[in-house]
Amino acid sequence: MAFFDRLKAGLQKTKEALIGQVNTVMSVFRKIDDELFDELEEALILGDVGVTTSTRLVEELRRRARQRGLKNGNELLPLLKELVAERLGDGIAPLNLNEGGLTVILVVGVNGVGKTTTIGKLARHLQEDRGLKVILAAADTFRAAAIDQLKVWGERAGAEVVAGPEGSDPAAVAFDGVKVARERGADVLIVDTAGRLHNKAHLMDELGKIARVLGREVPGAPHETLLVLDATTGQNALQQTKLFRETVPVTGIALTKLDGTAKGGVVVAITDTEQVPVKFIGVGERLDDLQPFDPKQFAEALFAE
């Protein structure tokens, strides 16, 4: 399947609900009136875009519709798509790689969002699609059987996993990861971390320490800090992004579970206020269920038939 089709297929269910509503709005020939704008706003809110950003988007939509002298209700959808895509950034945001040296990718997020799974998928992508040698570090030493889980993914993706004993210092595992990655001449080290709620200062400090150790061992590391967000999450994802950014330099977002009924619209609010690009989307539990995030296609797939 071509990329665009795959993206569309992955987002099919995601978009259905939203499309459904937008379509009922659009299908009937309608004048542009307050009611129509209200319905569009409702569709955005139901997609988890959030009330603030939805209101702002609809205000902007009104302004532009007026500017362009639009008359028909069905002219609004393409415009709204444009606006959403605009907010999502311009073009595909690439992974930050440390050309010619060891790239360190740190993966962070709250509990259960899909960090470990995403790492498995990312390792496959980097090795198979890009020909890079990847090592994984199991720095989630807290959750029961988290290390075994990563090892299974490592096996599936064909990447070696560096691990310490359960309950050991995660920063020490990260340190070992760097050492082994160097010994093996690997190109990329991906560090898995335990899920932590962003409002727990002691856990965030622990995360800061992991990042510092990595930075000490490899200049410029972590080169990429991926914050994993679950598409089912509501407005709290904004808070997650804000607070994780206070501890680690988040350079990208991976938005998971878009294969479900949730729409993940909160990323529109996030990219709007936090200026962190979404880089990947997760569309399933299999090894190849990871897609690069393309703002235009995302907005398109979100609204298109």
Binding site: I45, V51, T261
Partner: protein, 453 residues
Amino acid sequence: MFESLQERLQEAFKRLRGKGKLTESDVNEALREVRLALLEADVNFRVVKSFVNRVKERAIGQEVLETLNPAQMVIKIVYEELVALMGGENVGLNMADRPPTIIMLCGLQGAGKTTHAAKLALKLKKEGKKPLLVAADVYRPAAIKQLEVLGSQVGVPVYSEGDQVSPVDIAARAVEHAAQERRDVIIVDTAGRLTIDDELMAELQQIKERLKPHDTLLVLDAMIGQDAVTTAEHFHGKLGIDGVILTKLDGDTRGGAALSVREVTGRPIKFVGVGEKLDALEPFHPDRMASRILGMGDVLTLIEKAQEQVDRKQAEEMAKKMLKAQFDFEDFLEQLRALQRMGPLQDILKMLPGVGAQLKDINVDEKELKHVEAIILSMTPKERRNPDIINVRRRERIARGSGRPIAEVHRLIKQFEQARKMMKQLGGMEKMMKRGKMPRLPGGGFGGLFGRR
């Protein structure tokens, strides 16, 4: 991001000082803010709509109570409606008349099923039951191992057959196994699944058919957004759930899902998960959840939590003193130490009314607490008991004694006075709550005491 609803309503009602009956325009104005607050709390759009309409109907024409203004009156009604909607009394597990009781957990990926299977097992074990955990997630890598590790942590056996066997068969044989081993509660952990995954939803239906569980619980992440409604509707529609466990409430989410899920399933939320540790399971309290969704803090939980740590009588004394604003620096010192014992201060502060909104920029610096302690310890016992006598000369001495700058001493005393005032208002509020009246809260909150980032 979230101002407290009270603050916003107070703002909206600055002009409306009318007493008497609530007019339609009073109510509309207030409900606009309520609607925003609920949406920001992730209550589903449609649920908000019907809820707000209900409140409106009830509110218009109501007598505004003597001590309240229209804004407070509307909040009171909203609060009461929220509590009513989320179910009056707390509901526990459905236990079988004749053992074994069978409990089945289901939910989306990563919601907290496995963890809560273990938490329930621990709780039941403490109550003298003999639970058995069943590993029926054969899909997620290391899911069985995870349950086995958690099982051994709580000292409860785990029944598993590896990941090459159908979960339906595993669950069925687990029941036989439980009979042989005389286990009287069976807790089945299932794999996370999407509601649109027909195959996996059918699998759950089969397990349910075979086992006829006494309690089928949907495990739901409290951070879930608008999709809560779809998720709850589908699990309930296809499976018929008996209740809900709302997890990760130790985060800072408002948890509007609680309202959505209750509205669309009519099933009670039975427990909430408040941490990764296996004893972090609490019964669900609709009143506290209502306060949380509205951003009103959670005085009740705070008081209860304090009681766990401080001896009960001592806590009551303290609370009484605090609420009457009689508490002095000695009490404060004790309180500070008790607070430190209670765990992460953020968690505690969050429960105080009026603090929630400011909490985002509060960083409770343990070092700063030490400084506060040092300053108080440099006061004479007499000064501690009568803060009013601490004049400038005394302050200078205290600064020298504690090695802290004088400005810090000034600040502490000022903040102490403010806190005292706030406590007094809290006291008033507690009385009002008892009489069914809602308070007006000060904006400053407790936050200042601990410094900001």
